[in-house]
Symmetry: C2
Subunit: 330 residues, 2 copies
């Protein structure tokens, strides 16, 4: 009745921003991401007849309120599959700051889905795990498999065709790197979930964003398969800017960018003027992630680190599949 799983975070190259079904977490558009080998969540789940409620710890701290409810609801899906009303002890550890735009909910709900189903006695397929993880956090559907994944929006009302498919495994593109620059680790003011609902509801640019996504998906998918940073980078960068444009033009505005974010994006643009192939992306938080190739990575990391306000930089490659491990957290 106990299992531990580890899953990598992932960063979208074609962003997910907006739901067509809030409850089942079905997106308005498909998305593509790269898993990151250096950012992961480890989660141990133990179901026990002696518990009267779920007990949840994240990064050593007992969790209550909304956050606990979200985890318990996810465990509820697993309990429902089994048809047993067992409560669980859950401990989860991130090796990076959560709720700061580093997709902590992606790795968290992927690891939780895998650990909880194993603990209760199921061995789900990758597809089933992706569908389950999706219901905890949309982007978690893309953290079940390693490498590069496309979360297909699907068309069915029950969400059974909305899951992630691997475009290419971890080993596919050995040279690609994503440098994560951590600029501030304050938890963000507007969580992604609230932010995207508001954007869909009232950004005057949202429709225009949606209209361009299909083409971006084609470009990013094929450029990953061809291992062409020259095609991938500009498309991923523009995709991120389009998404942030829709956020900033909602009311009240959602502005995840901090002064340090602007400085870093401009530094990346300057790197290109200096002949270095580097492209940025940003998510629901202030951090800037830089796509580049192994050969340039050290040089880029040095320049990025020297910018004012940079707490640290983490050089990542594509990550591996989510998996269960022996050593539990308790």
């Amino acid at each position: 009745m106990k299992s531990t799983a580890i899953a990598n975070s992932n960063i979208a190259l074609v962003k997910y921003w907006g739901k067509r079904d809030e409850k089942l977490i079905l997106p308005t558009n498909s998305s593509i991401s790269m898993t990151l080998d250096k950012l992961h969540t480890t989660t141990t789940v133990e179901f026990s007849p002696s518990l009267k409620e779920d007990q949840i710890k994240i990064d050593g701290k007992k969790i209550l309120g909304e956050e606990a409810k979200r985890v318990s609801q996810h465990l509820g899906l697993v309990r429902k599959m089994k048809g047993e009303n067992l409560f669980a002890r859950v401990e989860s550890e991130n090796n990076f700051p959560k709720a700061a735009g580093l997709a902590s909910s992606a790795s968290a709900f992927a690891a939780l889905s895998l650990a909880a189903t194993k603990a209760i006695g199921f061995a789900l397929s990758r597809r089933e795990l992706s569908i389950l993880a999706r219901q905890g956090s949309g982007s978690a559907s893309r953290s079940i498999q390693g490498g590069y994944n496309e979360w297909m929006k699907g068309t069915k009302e029950d969400g059974s065709d909305s899951y992630s498919k691997q475009i290419a495994p971890q080993s596919h593109w050995q040279e690609l790197r994503m440098l994560v620059t951590v600029l501030t680790t304050k938890e963000k003011k507007v969580k992604s979930r609230a932010g995207m609902a508001q954007t869909v509801a009232n950004s005057p640019l949202y429709k225009a964003w949606l209209e361009t996504v299909e083409k971006d998906l084609e470009t990013v998918r094929s450029s990953i398969l061809e291992k062409s940073l020259f095609r991938l980078g500009p498309c991923a960068e523009l995709n991120a800017l389009k998404m942030h444009s829709t956020m900033m033009t909602t009311q009240p505005h959602i502005m995840y960018w901090e002064p340090e974010s602007i400085a870093m994006m401009k530094e990346v643009m300057q790197m290109r003027e200096d002949g270095i192939s580097a492209y940025f992306t940003m998510d629901g938080g202030p951090q800037v992630k830089i796509l580049c190739l192994e050969n340039d990575a050290k040089k880029i990391q040095k320049r990025a680190s020297e910018l004012k306000g940079v707490e640290k930089t983490i050089l990542c490659s594509a990550g591996e599949d989510a998996k269960t491990i022996e050593k539990g957290l308790f």
Copy 2:
């Protein structure tokens, strides 16, 4: 054959961004602006048969190259009206930094149009002056009259119906203020002219921007007439964010925002959370301008001044009409 004119700069509340005719400077959309009493250009023009070419000084410096050509071309329009090929000595002074997003070309070409036509012996109507100034710099058409002006895009190919009409004079709204925060006075990398051409050509959000402008014009026009900052502020702020979204999503991206700009925009959003009515706007440069009422102006100016990287702040009211003055620069 000599005349001196003074004209105020203006800041758009519904932005002009994109031309339907590059040569005549005819815009893709109408725009509305507020003239600013504290930012102005003074220009003396003297036509003289003894000159073999135009001699142009701006802020005490002799101007050559592209910038001189642009002034000479504008003088050419005046020469053509007169049918005489006289060259001119021109001296112009800004009381604020040029090419840093403070609409220096607006006040410059308005003052030049008025001084040059007077010097050569014409007394043009406001409408004719606006059309002439427009051909030097689009936004200059809005600096001929004081107060609040709407530059009507017009539909005619010759541009004869594309000029600015005063919505309300300087005296109309005594309480309104615009606080100009000067964050950096480096000349900008991408001039407005090049930036807008690129945006029209390739921003995936440009069409969506255009589709929302008519409604913004109605809101801004009526809220000025009603003297309602509560309606004017949010619409002007969103309009600016939409315009910057179209710029940032062109390739290569046009990013006029500096780290200090983000900090100031967020400070304004925070002021509102603190119960202060303040709204920002931004143009083709890093400066942030804050709309507010007289009662709050000192408090807002103090908070804005305390932010890191603020060179100075200038508290403006609506400006008066462009006019000729006795005292020349030479």
